[in-house]
Symmetry: C2
Subunit: 345 residues, 2 copies
Amino acid sequence: MSVGDGRSVLHGEIFEQPAAVAHLLERERRHVAVLSAGWRRANVPFVLVAARGTSDNAARYAKYAFGLASRLPVALAAPSLITLYGVPPRLRGALVIGISQSGRSPDIVETIAAARSAGSPTLAIVNDPESPLARAAAEVLPLHAGVERSVAATKTYTTALAAIALLVLSFARRRKELDALLAMPDAMGRALRSEAAAHRAARVLERADRAVVLARGLHYATAFEIALKLKELALLLAEPFSAADFQHGPIAMAEKDLPVILVSPPATRPEAEMRAVARDLARRGSPVIRIGPRGNGAIPSPAVPEFLAPLVSVIPGQRLAYHAALARGFDPDRPRGIRKVTETR
Amino acid sequence: MSVGDGRSVLHGEIFEQPAAVAHLLERERRHVAVLSAGWRRANVPFVLVAARGTSDNAARYAKYAFGLASRLPVALAAPSLITLYGVPPRLRGALVIGISQSGRSPDIVETIAAARSAGSPTLAIVNDPESPLARAAAEVLPLHAGVERSVAATKTYTTALAAIALLVLSFARRRKELDALLAMPDAMGRALRSEAAAHRAARVLERADRAVVLARGLHYATAFEIALKLKELALLLAEPFSAADFQHGPIAMAEKDLPVILVSPPATRPEAEMRAVARDLARRGSPVIRIGPRGNGAIPSPAVPEFLAPLVSVIPGQRLAYHAALARGFDPDRPRGIRKVTETR
C-alpha cells in the first residue's frame, strides 16, 4: 500500500470499475425497467436531483442525460432551502432522486424525505442499501460496487453514471443505446490502458498549484469529476468550467503557469469547438493536457457512443489524478484532512 | 484612468450601483407587478433560467429566491442541449428567463427563442432592450443601468439581482420585503464604505495565485460572483464553493498558501456554520478574509434582511477584487484577453 507501488487501494478500485459496472447492469436491469415504466406512465413533469461532492457530478450527468434522451428538465436541488431555511420546493409530482455513496449525508436524506412526504416519487441511488438515504426513499437503486475503501470515490462514481444511464435509457425506451450500455465495461477496460500517457501528463502538474479542467455539453460532468479528483488526491486547485463559460471571462487567466486539462472524447459534438479552444490556449502559452482521441500526447479515451462517453472518459482523468498525486509526493490512499462521510446539514 | 488613481471606469461603475438599483426599482416596479400577476395566475410549475458568466451568478440567486419566496423549483438551463445537440427541453408552461447584460449571447437567445416557440412564457432580463435577447423574449425587464463600459460587470450584476428580487417578491406578494427592497440602494451605499478594509485584505492576495471563496445557502451566488471578479480583474484562480461541498473533499487543500474568502453576511442563517468553518480553516493554517459583520478585520457588509443580502454583500467583494487587481499590478479597466460580449454557441 505504499506510495508508488501501483498496488494502492485506490489503484485497485480504479481497476475494479469495469467489473463493478457489469455487475450493476446485470443485477439492476430488470428492476430499473419496471421502475422507469411506472414513472413514464406517471408522466413526471421534471426531475430534481439532490447530491453532494462526487455524487453531485453524477447528478450533472443526469441533467444532460434526461434532457437529451427524454427532454425532461432537471433541477439540481439546493438542499439548504430545506435544511437552513425550512422551505421545501413544491414538486407537482416531479421525480426526486438522491445520489450518495454512503447514503449518510443528512441534507440529502432530508431532501428525499421531504419529497416523499409531499407525495413525489423518490429514488435513492446509493451504494449502501441499508443506509438512511435508502430507507428515506420509496425506491432504491443499489450500486452493488462493494465497499469503497478509498476516500476518493471512483467506482461509486462510474457505477452511479451507469445507474443513471440505465434509468434514463429505460425511461426513454432507447433499446439500441441500452445495448451499447452493456458494452461499456469492455470500453472502460480499454480506457484503463492509459498508464504511460497519464504518467507523462502528470509531470506537467508536478510543480503546478492550480489548473483548470474544461469540457462542454454532456462532458461537463467529467470535467467536474476530474477536477475534484485532482483536488482530493493531488491537492491541486483544479477548477472545472464549461468551455463556453471559460471563454466568457476566466480565460483572462490563461498563461504558462496555469495548466489546462481539456476533456474532449473522440467523435463527440463538442470536438471541433474544443480543438479551437486548444488552439487559443496554445497561443496564450498555456500548457494543455488533452483527454481524447489517441495521438499528439493525449491521454487516450476510446470512442464510444457520445451519450455513454462520461462512463469511459473519466477514467483517464482518474489515472491522471492518481499519477499527479504520486508525482507531488502524496499518498493517494491518505488524502489530507478529509473523511469518507461528511455530515453537512 | 491610470492604475491606482481611484478614478478608473470600473471604480466609477462600482459607485454607480446604488443609483442604478434605485432607478431600476422606480422604473420597473409597476411593470413587474403586472407581469408577475399574470404568471401567478398561469400557475407556472417551475422556472428555467438561461445565462452565462456574471448573469449565471444572478441566475443562482434566482434559484434560491424563487425557492424561498414561492417554493418554485428553478433549473439552470444547459444551453448546449439545444445548441450542440438540438434537443430543447419539454417545458410544460414553465417560465423561462434569459439573463444577459448585452443580450447578445447566441446560446441564451436560442434557448429563449425555443421556449417561446414551444408556448412557454419568456422573459429577458437585459441591459440593452434593443438586443437580440430582448427581441426573442415575449417580455422584457430592462436593467436601465446605462452603458457598462468596464469589461468586468458590476452594476449590471446588482441591477439584475434587484430585478430578480422585484420579480420574485411581486410574484409571491411579499409586501413587507418589497418595501425592504426599496431601501437597498441606501444599504448598498453603506457597503461602499469598505475601502480601508478591502485595501488591507487585498494585501493577503497580493502574492497568491489561487484562492477559494465560500458561502452557503442564499449567499452561494455571492461567492460565485466574487470569485469571478477575482479571476477577471486580479487573474487569481479563485474557485467558489458551497461551504458544505467544500467540507466534502476540497478542504484537503487548505493550507497557508491558499487564502480563503468567507462570505457570511451579518444576521443570516448560515452565520454559525460559517464561523465553525472559519475556525476549522484557522486550525489548518489558511489565511482567511471575511466579508461579514464589522470587526476582527472583516470587510464590513451592512445587516439587511437575509433575502436581500446578496445585493449588498457582493459590493465588499467587488472592492476586494478591485484592490487585489491594483496590488497585483493589473489595470482593472483592461482585463487581459477578454471581451465584453462572448459569442458561444
